[in-house]
Symmetry: C2
Subunit: 237 residues, 2 copies
């Protein structure tokens, strides 16, 4: 398939590399390709410059967000940070129309008066906005009425979303939510290719609220296990 990945951060790179390995044609979208290619320093999360990533992954093309989305024949992965996602995606609504957009962003807000180092010693991340009475997934869906938004990946570490078998025997749970059953089937197919065996459909996109709000639990579990320990959660029934 021709799949577009919007974003060049750690999470996006994990998908880009895995999708290429699975034989898909991957187009990567960034706000300003020239600026992305000009960077020579690691990004704020310590990822090496994207130019180096491209050199290590031949065949991957870098485009603007809109051009990357336009190349997709059905599936687009949104790796744009939560704070900018709605604005950036609204601007390319035409290129996303008729396609499935997988969103895994967490709407973290870093307010100066409550800013804390990340990760904090007590495992709590910055606050979420929207939270509780709305979700970023729903906001994106409202901004893109011609696109089927599926919330997924968000409850799992970036590195192991594409490598579930790296934890336990891979027997943990991936959650998805969205309005369109066909779109969710498409995403489930991708997840099976990633190695997920337990995909739980939480139903309509309103359940993205819980998926995004789980971020604080996720951070607290990560701190409790020791930073860098890979983990997943399994719904035991």
């Amino acid at each position: 398939m021709k799949i577009a990945v919007l974003g060049t951060g750690g999470g996006a790179r994990a998908h880009i590399a895995k999708l290429a390995e699975l034989g898909h044609e991957v187009a990567v979208g960034t706000r300003d390709p020239q600026a992305t290619l000009a960077r020579t320093e690691p990004d704020m999360m310590g990822n090496p410059p994207f130019k180096q990533f491209l050199a290590d992954h031949p065949g991957i093309e870098l485009h603007t967000f809109g051009d990357a989305a336009a190349t997709s024949d059905g599936l687009v992965i949104n790796g744009i940070d939560g704070h900018n996602a709605v604005t950036a995606l609204s601007a390319i609504a035409d290129q996303l129309a008729g396609k499935t957009l997988i969103d895994y962003a967490v709407p973290y807000i870093y307010k100066p008066d409550i800013e804390r180092p990340w990760p904090t010693p007590w495992g709590v991340n910055p606050i979420l906005d929207p939270c509780d009475s709305d979700s970023l997934g729903e906001q994106i869906q409202r901004a893109l009425p011609r696109t089927d938004v599926v919330k997924a990946f968000v409850t799992q570490e970036q590195a192991t979303v594409v490598a579930p078998k790296a934890i336990g025997d891979g027997d943990h749970t991936m959650f998805i939510a969205g309005a369109d059953a066909e779109a969710k089937q498409q995403v489930t197919g991708l997840l099976r290719a990633y190695g997920w065996t337990d995909v739980l459909d939480l139903g309509p996109l309103i359940t993205a609220r819980g998926m995004e709000m789980y971020a604080h639990m996720h951070g607290a579990i990560g701190m409790a296990l020791g930073f860098g320990t890979h983990f997943g959660i399994k719904v035991v029934r």
Copy 2:
């Protein structure tokens, strides 16, 4: 031990029955014992009248919140609903002083303008207040500076908190949080007696935010599995 349970709802009853079965002396606290005993109809969650529960569980004593807390020789379980917990507990701060209070309340708010049937067909519960930048667990701790508050049980269904082995082989995770290591050890001891083998200490009470905010995920998972299906979550590492 002499253990007090504050509240007479479904969650409280599960603890009362299990604690009595384990050989503890259990004192139950309610706002108005006469009113509680006078009820002849099931409560809003469909539980039979508390008088009937007492008849089925001989040896359990019913007191006011304060009198029940006063009988405890170290451990009190808070089963007062989230909306009333801070006010009701503040009023009996003296009787709770020097003890460990296990809090499992979720600060659900039912606002008329956003009220929905519970559980909703889409698995989303009423909104949470406090949420994200504070938690009910922290509010209770601030109201009770002479008491060690431990948040626990909150991520698990009421019925299976005291019967973890009813799900899978009991191999799922119970989370605890609180400032005092000794109090958390006391709670861990109780959890082991309940049958929990995987107790994960999330650290300080600020992580109660994530535990309470997980409520929406919990509701969504429950709806996805089918109402009435018992489940737990396991941190797979």
